[in-house]
Symmetry: D3
Subunit: 313 residues, 6 copies
């Protein structure tokens, strides 16, 4: 496994050479990869501010600051798994539906090789492609961190875009709604019944109000109770964070959770069975302070740690 460990930052300066995700090796040889980091440079599913297509390239550049060991959990992911940057899913900048399919195909190839897909986007439509491409025939659970519920039926007449992936995935049997939990939901809404569908199908939606009422430990317990022991997808929309901690996203919502809390929530998943991961709505065009990238890089690392630690579970 040694060959996939990043070059030591104390030998090769961080600023040097081409940038890869987490400073992992860039490879197209999927057979030797346990955890496949890939980009989804795509934002045609965006209703308002575009630019998340540059998310993968920005995370690669931010990865110059990546390190190797999780000081809080002790997990050293590169010692546990062969982790590689396998490039980007193919997309077409003029074709929303075609790209959703080509991303799905790319993820299916990763799944066929046995790697856990960890996709970095890109707009939230990618969640649907990853769930489709990684589908094993059995619906998975979902741990979702997001300001928005993302289960609209359609938007501007489109049934596939960044506002609908959870609904589509439940309808298609990719997700088991009773094993789905959403954390960080908030914000003014378009209509009073915007969040009803989720309740009807049994999704556990934890709003900021409930988040505060439960407390962080209560939320951790709620997540654990909901997903149980079976495999689950982790969907992290960076807009779950407070706008001050993630200004670089297409539709920020006031009053979000803190990165410190997100770290603790993510670490609570250590040892559980992560089937796949996406991190999305990262828009470097809106991030002049680079704060979003600092937090995103850390979130990618935390997610890779839980993916690596959970492989045997």
């Amino acid at each position: 496994m040694v060959e996939y460990t990043p070059a030591p930052a104390w030998i090769e300066p961080r600023v040097a050479d081409v940038a890869t995700l987490l400073r992992a090796r860039r490879t197209d040889d999927l057979q030797s990869v346990d955890i496949a980091l890939f980009g989804v440079p795509f934002d045609l599913g965006t209703a308002f501010t575009p630019g998340a297509r540059f998310g993968p390239s920005a995370v690669r550049e931010a990865s110059r600051m990546a390190r190797l060991v999780n000081s809080a959990t002790g997990v050293a992911p590169f010692d546990l798994a062969r982790i590689a940057d396998v490039g980007d899913a193919p997309v077409n900048p003029f074709d929303l539906m075609g790209s959703v399919d080509s991303i799905t195909g790319f993820v299916a190839t990763l799944k066929a090789s046995g790697a856990i897909p960890v996709g970095i986007g890109g707009d939230n439509t990618m969640t649907l492609s990853i769930l489709r491409g990684n589908h094993s025939g059995v619906p998975t659970g979902l741990v979702m961190f997001d300001a928005h519920v993302d289960f609209f039926d359609s938007f501007y007449g489109s049934s596939v875009n960044h506002a609908v992936p959870i609904r589509r995935a439940v309808e298609e049997g990719l997700l088991d709604p009773r094993r789905c939990v959403q954390v960080g939901i908030r914000g003014p809404v378009l209509a009073a019944d915007d969040w009803n569908w989720g309740k009807e199908v049994g999704i556990r939606t934890i709003t900021m109000e409930e988040y505060e009422a439960l407390g962080r430990d209560g939320v951790i317990a709620a997540i654990s109770d909901t997903i149980g022991d079976q495999p689950f997808h982790v969907a992290l929309d960076i807009d779950v964070l407070d706008p001050s901690e993630a200004p670089g996203t297409g539709f920020p919502e006031a009053g979000g959770i803190r990165m410190r809390d997100l770290q603790v929530l993510l670490r609570s998943l250590t040892g559980k069975h992560v089937a796949s991961v996406d991190i999305c709505e990262i828009n470097p065009m809106l991030d002049p302070t680079r704060t979003t990238m600092v937090n995103t890089l850390n979130a990618v690392f935390e997610l890779v740690c839980i993916a690596a630690a959970g492989r045997e579970s």
Copy 2:
């Protein structure tokens, strides 16, 4: 009332057409308006960094992200009241005192039409104009969120500027000091007795130290106790927020309150009798991440919700 509801964002894209406050209709017909949103593009009362004159235009542009229903309180303001963007108060870019008067006159016209004035600024001097223009003969209460007490006697020899409006308003009988409460006060001060005048006249000044000691619920209780059941003005200086959450303001103070907390504090006013509102010191020239605008937009929405909900009270 339907005609004032913003065009549905799922039909007319948010990025389209001229920008208005909360995406409300822009009208000059004050007779049919219950809540009058207006700008105060004025910052001659600023002692240090100018630029708040662009606050109204920036809030209009940020309003492209506005929505219709408060998910926490259930209030749907456009269903409760006719809410319009009535344009900007007249100001003169070379005349501090004249502008203070012309803003006052504009607010008086709004009052005459029966609308609740909600002014978006603009520097904090505007608070005095709104209180003057909306004055009904009886002093009102005050819920003020601010880093600064704003009750200096004079500043650089001027008795009307952004450091003095509360003092002037009390002296003029516009505010009842025993029904005034200030939240978020902090920062190094110019002199040890800077905050004494407020104590002398009976204003309740809750510093960050007291804020933490009381806890959020305690602060809510203190606000409620202070203002009682009578009408009150809400004065929100965006610098009450921590600088990380509102860098776009002329004189940020380290160690402020969080937007999440401000949301909860504002919502606690739901059902109470709001007489008038101002939101000020919004400086888009200092806001490259747009975080200040995201939070300001939400604050405007929260304030409109409480104004709409409190109309019958």
Copy 3:
């Protein structure tokens, strides 16, 4: 005609009220409009960096600096024509082909009302929609300022996007290629024969090399010779300017023309018969210095001047 003249900037401060294109009145009553300024908040035809969808809103905001009389040509457009901001063409943020059609329909409505359409974008795909919507049955000429020839056959398998509008328009009989002239073409290209199609159909393509060889007066003569006396469309892609003068565009090319030269080139069209206008690829997300917006605003004004002056021709 008086009613469409912007409010005097020396009475209503520039910073005040909602922003409109050139500070003109915003109207939906097309019957009384001679020159219709409209936005095309759309960038799904963009192959690389998106964000031009915010071009119209940014030009509206920049219009706060607009004035009334052209000091070089003496043209006072608001005295010559009823000029209005008629809002934005309808678009769908998820539908490239549908939006191309809905923009076309909007322009057809303007044409039916007798107004000269002046569209502000938005990506270069809009040129095709304007030519289609404004088509009178006779091919028009074209004066195009652009770094790129925009006559690819297809791109990423798509036959309608920002790299192809000129080819489509010629094929559809909207443009007479022998009356088309392109100025400012430059840059490394994808293949040695990238510019051949234009030569084959008779388009006059003036590269930067030829631009320098001809001199500015020679270019003006070449434009005049090519378009002759019949109506023509003016297509201004802001990337014709040097990147230092227009960084806010999706695909800047080193070594462009100067705004000063563009002013003189545009003014040379005064008195000629302008059928329609587009100004595109304006991306405020890439314009932190606002230089692109300053130049774009001036270009819009120059174009309105020639459109107004040429109405009788």
Copy 4:
């Protein structure tokens, strides 16, 4: 004179210590100063975008890059004159008229000490204060570089602001209009007769059109012919430059002159009798690339060179 020479940049690093204008010594002892550099941190005369009040502090910080000898003219100003940073003129952030007077008083003190005043602003209103404070009883000439004529009669009802100083100065006998020349004038105007007053009183206004017709050498000759051999004021509004070279100014105008040309124009004044200097409308809040500051610093140096070289003339 040695004591006023800046510390050698090869000994004291440029980044070190407090920043002063041109790295000159900061002194309040006016008796030993030949050329007095001072700031005017004031922008209450601004009709649109404020922020020029930070011009002096930004020029001080940019001065870290200052050097000692003009490579084009050979002038070594610190060898020819005692040049000091004498601090800032007193201003009141709430009082336009009072500040105009206090700046005038400060300049009068400089004049009394025999120093040539070189003011760095600050908005263009300061030109009037410098002319008033430095007035010797005889009207001076004027070499003005500006996009705007600045001889409006009044603006928003105010007779003293950044749009009027030249008219006021001529009316007050501070300037001899027949010895006044303006270079770089351009832009759309508010009314067709905006530039008439200057012609009536005999000011030589060289628009960009005439600038190009004359050529750079022709402009130099025109300047020389106009001012003759008597003392003159140099008024440099940084907006004379093209917006790409000076985005950091309150009202940029498309199509300006180049810094390279400004250098040559300024150097043509070497050996002539400079009575006083102002450099204004420098707004660092609009200058994220620092290009405006790089050019302003060089302009200050060029102006100090001609002031130093012209002292004996």
Copy 5:
């Protein structure tokens, strides 16, 4: 002592004149100074992103917002001590080791004069220079706020740089490790044993996990217990703050402490014996919102308050 008090901000506008640290007087006369504020414009000890060399100049500029009295503790430092800006320590931009020595020498001179050194940097290497230059022969305690432990043995083969100062200082007998406490430590690490050395020598390292477990009061008690009653150095690396509150630093770490908490932690040191202070890793090149500078300025003020209050202890 009066002569060192900053000019009243209500008389001399904040924007005026040269900028100094806390608006204190700039002097080279060390004999009359009790607390010596100085810059260390140096970042050659930086492994990744440089730019902290501009920290001192940026803190000077930010100091325009400085005030005089601590509203939470009541400390008025300028009434308690003669506080001056004594300029910057000499450094050489090409020489890491030489600069470490010249900074040390500068601090030794301050110590000789009896002043408490308060250094503003600059990269974290400066901590070592201050401890060396201020060494009295007896090891001091340490209160350190930092995301990183900074006790590597070497880095890129270098034994003196920003990753090692604490280890060097302990080895050299400058610090008593049993009286050293580190707060805010976090982040992924390079190797599982990165934090072992500190434990071995007895340094108290409070990670974010322990920070949360103890609570703020518990941390205050732990600090107090560790340092005891003897003199101690305060080392504040601005990266201890959450990246949203201090983006302007060379190696931000997700999930840090809040400025509000830092204020309370710092104030808990009031009355204790501060021997010396450094505030480092302030990089204005990464701070477009100025949030880092607002917080840094407040931190400098808080530190000066405790230094002033602790002088008699």
Copy 6:
């Protein structure tokens, strides 16, 4: 040679995958490379503003916009030569002299493989390393584009830094001074004799004044006359450009040449024998508009074109 041609931008979207120089393949196999593009992520030779160490990573990211054929000269470099991104030269972030040596060693390896080295920096010190590493025993000529002469004897006591490489190279017999030409030299200088050494040894220094006097064709002739027919190094310091066209550099000088002119000057070298190339002082930390990167990318392409075209000469 096909294998080194970048993936077609019309198949693999530009935004996709890891970024490489000119979108060329990243390889460590030097034996099959004719032109070796490499980064020098190093800026310890910088006297003032650091950050050029991020130049290589920024040029890689900007390379997403790279194309294949030079439209002005017809050169298709990837058809003429095997062009690869060979990674970065090894550097040590704490060791100026050691890094200069390790860069030299890296270039020597490239030379041994027969590749033409094209280095992208990084500060100007790298020029010396490339000349040393590529030295064949015979001094080469030099075509240098720079605002500064870079032939100081020493700076801050250091004989190797970004202000001295030309002098060192001449002294070491790496350059034949009579075959060296410098274009774009300008700016105030530290001392009147700053440029004398070059004249003494026979370097042809073309200042901006001479540049204008000669005209562009005259400069091209002067370059050609000076270098003759033998191999030469091309040294391009991006600060040769006007600050408006390259704000992202450590020490910009007002009044530089235009990118359009640089393109023509570079193309005049087509067919000549280029021995090696460096492009330096590219500082993305100072480039928020990305203009510097657009121009740098084009300059890299132009230089690769002349290197490819000149291989047979």
